[in-house]
Subunit: 185 residues, 2 copies
DNA sequence: GTGTCGAGTATACGAATGTTTACTAGCCGG
DNA sequence: CCGGCTAGTAAACATTCGTATACTCGACAC
């Protein structure tokens, strides 16, 4: 007895690889690296657990691949620099609420036990978030200010995970906007 | 051959309990709940690993006990309310740098896999940090502003863990002060 | 048709974890 | 001095994890 969805699926290496990648992205975003097992990923992708090792070398390899594919937060950075704090606040509020796209950041905040994973996460955080953001900022010490903004982002994710999602109010967004303005100044 | 420190130590239930508690506090603060094993705690306390279960029921029970004993961050809240942002910033900067006292927060940001642990952490965060802080704040919506401040704190810890400790400059502290002022307004 | 290559599978392995259990030995009251 | 309570110990247990391995079976070339 095979699972219903697995019945007579054409054998397609690339498609299976994509299913694993997709399942891994969602699970890592939800539970963090250590909160996910390769068995969970394989089950969600309706694939055999050995294929993770075959296609990605290891669980860590799959994780790195997920982060590589993840579109950066760059879209938030694009556009009118003056509106950046507001966009950051709205993005963060959305993130606080539901985080439908579940991007890189949510995965970052919880993954750190293994030093190898920590290195992967650190590089990705630097290259995909802090550096692009710092490049946008005029004035002195853009790195430090970019780190500060990222700090708030990370904190929001962790708070959301701890306290549960809360519907952000208009006042929340306004407050966050002010904080980001202050952080970017 | 026993370990050097264990040689001929008087059998003292309370003292051993305290050693375990102390070792657990330091390790949990450093590595988070899931990054610490019962064997690590027992080794650091120079005690037998079975005593954790005997004295605290379980690893989770020990963790809860650690959080219960942990002095709250309340001292930062005491004193002149006008100076609160600055004190928060200095405390956070210290935390960013070395965190010598390693209080509750550092343990919070990483511990969440098990729902039981998550509940323990959530309650403690609410009762020992957010509520006392909110009680200090005049004006509307003190809860939301207290959460925002806590968010920055949590984020700082995670960033520190990911990017490594960095020596905070005067400008960093000034910037943080401004951010906290904004968040508390 | 049939042989071969590779996608997919089932199972096992070794390590690590929290917890339990049966045991040992030190101290204290009598 | 000695008997019993108990702190402390050693070993094992059951699970779970990531990974490795030996296998099956379907599709395409010839």
């Amino acid at each position: 007895m095979r699972t219903a969805t697995a019945e007579s699926r054409p054998r397609d290496r690339e498609a299976t690889r994509r299913r694993l990648l997709r399942a891994a992205r969602e699970l890592f975003a939800e539970h963090g690296y250590e909160g996910v097992t390769v068995r969970m990923i394989a089950a969600a992708a309706d694939a055999n657990l050995a294929l993770v090792a075959r296609y990605f070398g290891s669980k860590a390899g799959l994780f790195a691949e997920v982060l590589k594919d993840e579109p950066s937060v760059r879209q938030v950075f694009e556009g009118d620099p003056a509106g950046l704090p507001r966009r950051l606040a709205e993005y963060a509020a959305l993130r606080m609420h539901s985080d439908p796209e579940s991007p890189i950041l949510r995965s970052l905040e919880r993954s750190a036990g293994d030093p190898e994973i920590q290195a992967i996460v650190r590089d990705r955080l630097r290259n995909a978030v802090i550096e692009p953001l710092a490049a946008l900022l005029p004035g002195p010490d853009p790195q430090a200010r970019a780190r500060l903004v990222t700090t708030v982002f990370i904190g929001i994710g962790t708070m959301r995970r701890l306290l549960g999602p809360e519907v952000p109010t208009e006042a929340d967004v306004d407050r966050l906007t002010a904080v980001f303005e202050q952080a970017l100044r």
